[in-house]
Amino acid sequence: VTGKTEPRRVSPEGVLAARAALERFLEAKTWLALPVGIVGCVLVALLERRHGVGAADRALSGAAFGLSLPILAYLVTDSSLSRRRLSTNLSSIVRHGGSPSAAASGTLASVLLFSTSTGALLGALTTFVARAGTDGAWLRDVGASAWIGILGGAAYASAFVFASSFGKRGGGRQLLFALDFLFGISSSALALPWPRSHIRNLIGGTPPLELSQPASAAALVLIAGLTAIFAVRRARA
């Protein structure tokens, strides 16, 4: 016995599901919303820049993370799942004996990849356009906005995939989208479960329940992690 173990193979159903999600997303032309979102954020950042101090905060909380990020995360989830329930979407793999959890992980990975990179891009670009060259800290802020975008994108992606396991056609994600808009804007306890309130706190807006920024960052990680776990567990439901 040499103690050597075979390298762990990536589950084929996970790869298949990830590829299927990506293919559906590209086929649905949803990706066209990304350039639209980017152009919108850049224009808003330019307008805000002309109004002076706080341009980046306003552009981020409004166009970038307030509007574009949740909409894009919703659209990518919706198209990756073919506007269906999570379990229905995985049935073409599960029926051949593929593990529902592995297949759900693949789908989730695909949606996460797009949402986090979109979040990073929107955050960095918006901050760059709004702040570049205004003071010495602008480069640091571009970096900070990028990781806030990554955290926010991950939270939205996992939450939308999890919510897609509810409702006949995955209508749970529409409800989540609406509730995030409705309750996420407040600063009361009602805002705590929604990514919007924590993203706002991280970019210097009103914190929910006076939470600190590290606490909001942890809350986003928690939302992303828990909803991802539950999404994978509910893949069969």
Partner: protein, 307 residues
């Protein structure tokens, strides 16, 4: 040898169904929507509200029907891939089959579809490809096929029939079809699905004799008769004839004895028993709607009885 076993399976349109599908061809007819639901549950793509599906065999596979049952669903979707051949290759890998995707398609006369994009296939083509895959699955413990003969414009009818009969030698092959004529072509055992319940073949589809029993406890009697080993079919219609049960058997004497014994043992009042050879005046079975009324929400009663 293996059996497909449904235990207390309950879902929308389906009453609690307990049914054992043994090796051989079994045809289930009824309304398309509930039939499709049963097929989806057996294929493992839909979890019933209650109950479970088990492949009973040398190694029982509780709730793992999806892995061991080869199925053709009412609506099919291929695994996402650049072309049909690669989609089939992925499905074959998941099923653990060492088959060439091209061979699978060629055997069913679908070689032309190999290079097409799965997303560009139409409804019939998708079903044809998945039927070819299902019938090629030599490792499957059972087969559940929804209306397989409807893809005959693409897949030769003879190929489907031969493959079904070949598999049926050692494995359960359930063909769910809203068309009664398919059941007559395939032969084997006929089940009907109505009002959320699966019934054994109506008495007039088989040979032998039938008894028409009138009783205020007809529902209870039907349930008991369905469990009798010598009874080949039991028909009970709670809406049209709530006080009548028709039972069928090859042996009329044994059938009459069963009815009277059950009535005595369980204290059931019998108003009348009429024994009639089925060949005497068979009702016309050509119109399925007469035999198979539209499915309604399940009712309490003898759900899932089959003989």
């Amino acid at each position: 040898m293996s059996d497909l076993l449904l235990e207390q399976v309950t879902d929308e349109w389906l009453g609690p169904i307990t049914l054992r599908i043994e090796p051989g061809v079994t045809t289930l007819t009824g309304d398309p929507a509930p039939l499709g639901r049963i097929v989806e549950i057996l294929a493992g793509v839909r979890t019933p509200r209650r109950g479970k599906v088990t492949l009973v065999g040398p190694t029982d596979q509780a709730n793992a029907a999806s892995a061991r049952v080869a199925a053709l669903l009412p609506e099919e979707e291929l695994v996402a891939a650049p072309d049909v051949l690669r989609a089939l290759a992925a499905a074959l890998t998941l099923r653990g089959l060492e088959l060439e995707p091209r061979t699978v398609l060629e055997s069913a006369g679908l070689a032309d579809l190999g290079g097409r994009r799965p997303a560009r296939l139409d409804f019939l083509e998708r079903r044809a490809v998945m039927l070819a895959l299902a019938l090629a699955d030599v490792r499957a413990g059972g087969f559940v096929l929804y209306d397989p003969l409807s893809v005959s414009p693409l897949v030769p009818r003879g190929f489907v029939l031969d493959a079904c009969l070949e598999h049926a030698r050692t494995k359960p092959v359930l063909v769910a079809s809203p068309h009664l004529e398919d059941a007559l072509v395939l032969g084997g055992r006929l089940l009907t699905f109505a009002r959320g319940t699966v019934f054994a073949a109506p008495a007039w589809y088989g040979s032998g004799a039938s008894v028409h029993v009138r009783s205020k406890q007809a529902r209870r009697l039907a349930g008991l008769l369905a469990e009798e080993p010598g009874v080949s079919g039991v028909l009970f219609d709670a809406e049209r004839a709530p006080f009548e049960v028709i039972a069928k058997s090859l042996d009329p004497e044994m059938l009459a004895e069963s009815v009277t014994r059950l009535a005595c043992d369980h204290g059931l009042a019998i108003a009348s028993i009429v024994v009639s050879p089925s060949s005497a005046s068979p009702p016309a079975p050509q119109d399925p709607s007469r035999v198979l009324p539209r499915a309604a929400p399940p009712r309490p009663g003898i759900h899932g009885n089959e003989a």
